[in-house]
């Protein structure tokens, strides 16, 4: 897993988001173990308390759970949960900034729509 810290958010939130992304992209499948707090903090040179705080966000969200004496595991259904959350956040995370940038560039609605369709056409 490749962690990149952008500095746009507190580190523990970035840790939570990047772990979540790794779970969503099947790097850590459901019911498998994710790296321990110690492994993550050593490999990233981040204070263990910060890493733990990031992990706790995912525990509270029902994405990972602790197996006593074994470590942290990905919950069954975690991927679906993340998908739903991301769908709900899609407008705010992607559409709103797109519209804001389009406004700066002076693109009107039709131009945006044709760009989206064009992008789609390229992919298929």
């Amino acid at each position: 897993m490749n962690f990149r810290f952008t500095g746009d958010k507190p580190i523990y939130i970035e840790i939570a988001e990047q772990l979540e992304d790794a779970i969503f992209t099947d790097i850590y499948p459901e019911e498998t173990q994710i790296p321990s707090t110690t492994e993550l903090s050593v490999s990233l040179s981040i204070n263990p308390a910060t890493v733990l705080k990031g992990m706790n966000i995912l525990v509270d969200g029902g994405i990972i759970y602790k197996k006593r004496g074994l470590g942290m595991y990905v919950c069954t259904g975690a991927v679906e949960k993340i998908r739903q959350k991301r769908q709900q956040g899609f407008y705010e995370s992607y559409v709103a900034p797109l519209l804001s940038e389009a406004k700066k560039l002076g693109l009107d609605e039709n131009e945006i729509i044709s760009l989206i369709k064009g992008g789609n056409a390229d992919e298929h």
């Binding site: 958010k9 903090s41 990233l44 040179s45 804001s100």
Partner: protein
């Protein structure tokens, strides 16, 4: 259990290097002791480790007086910026010597760490480069396993790879054998992620002591065109600004009306380095 610094003052002639500092250092946390050059960091650490005597005040290590007290001092290791070891002594000898004063010293671990830095432990420290002298001192500090380990400017002369390795070893050690490890430095960006608590010293006084998390959550940065930023900042507690052409960044304490961000402004979290510069009045350095 903790180290308590009570009203400690140190004067050198008319110069007040440490000015009535009161602070508490808890066990089993990673601390940053941050201050600009000459702020009084090293003097304070030298007092804690009984290398110099305070003019006034006292330091208690787990409740015991720190001055001339072996049972207190064997819990306190100071890796200092100045070289205290004889130039002809090599790292293997330093480790052996360390084990005489610090009963929990793990000489084998010290040798392992030296190997990871490819430090030749048979070479006299006088023959080592600045970077390797720093590494030799760091090896002794970590091997000591002291309950309170203070590292004063631990990356002096180290290249980027060795700095990264050193930070990694600090976290590893902390995870394996939790103890208080304090890093005193003015190079903050690199260590920020490592720290749980910080003590900021300016002109011999403690100006902040808090967890990194609390410190950073006290405010935020706002970026955008200068006039927009100025408008947004009116009647807010601005602690510092930077300008790059017509782009302006303001650092604000408090969270008033943060939900009403006008178009064209961006909000970012504070980072420790910026907060430090602003708090220690380093505006001229930013520009």
């Amino acid at each position: 259990m903790s180290i308590e610094i009570k009203n400690v003052t140190k004067k050198f002639g008319k110069t007040v290097a440490v000015d009535a500092i009161t602070a508490k250092i808890d066990e089993e946390k990673i601390y940053g002791i941050l201050g600009r050059n000459g702020a009084g960091k090293s003097t304070l650490l030298n007092i804690i480790s009984n290398r110099i005597i305070a003019t006034d005040g006292e330091v208690l290590v787990d409740g015991e007086e720190a001055v001339e007290n072996n049972s207190a001092q064997e819990k306190v290791f100071l890796m200092s910026e100045v070289d205290m070891y004889p130039q002809s002594m090599n790292t293997a000898e330093i480790l052996k010597w360390t084990s005489k004063f610090y009963p929990d010293t793990d000489i084998e671990k010290g040798k392992e760490i030296a190997k990871r830095f490819t430090l030749d432990i048979k070479k006299g420290i006088g023959q080592l480069s600045t970077g390797y002298r720093t590494i030799a001192k760091f090896v002794a500090a970590i091997a000591s396993n002291a309950k309170y380990t203070f590292l004063d400017e631990p990356v002096l002369g180290l290249d980027a790879n060795h700095r990264e390795l050193l930070y990694k070893i600090i976290v590893e050690e902390y995870a394996e054998n939790p103890r208080m490890i304090a890093v005193a430095t003015h190079i903050i960006e690199e260590v920020a992620g490592l720290l749980e608590e910080v003590i900021i010293i300016e002109k011999g006084k403690v100006i902040e002591t808090d967890s990194v998390e609390n410190l950073l959550s006290r405010g935020y940065g706002v970026t955008g065109k200068a006039e927009l930023v100025d408008g947004f900042c009116a009647n807010k507690n601005v602690i510092g600004t930077e300008s790059i052409g017509s782009l302006k960044i303001a650092y604000i304490l408090g969270h008033d009306n943060i939900s009403e961000i006008p178009d064209g402004l961006e909000i970012s979290p504070l980072n420790l380095q910026k907060l430090f510069i602003v708090l220690t009045g380093g505006e001229e350095e930013v520009k």
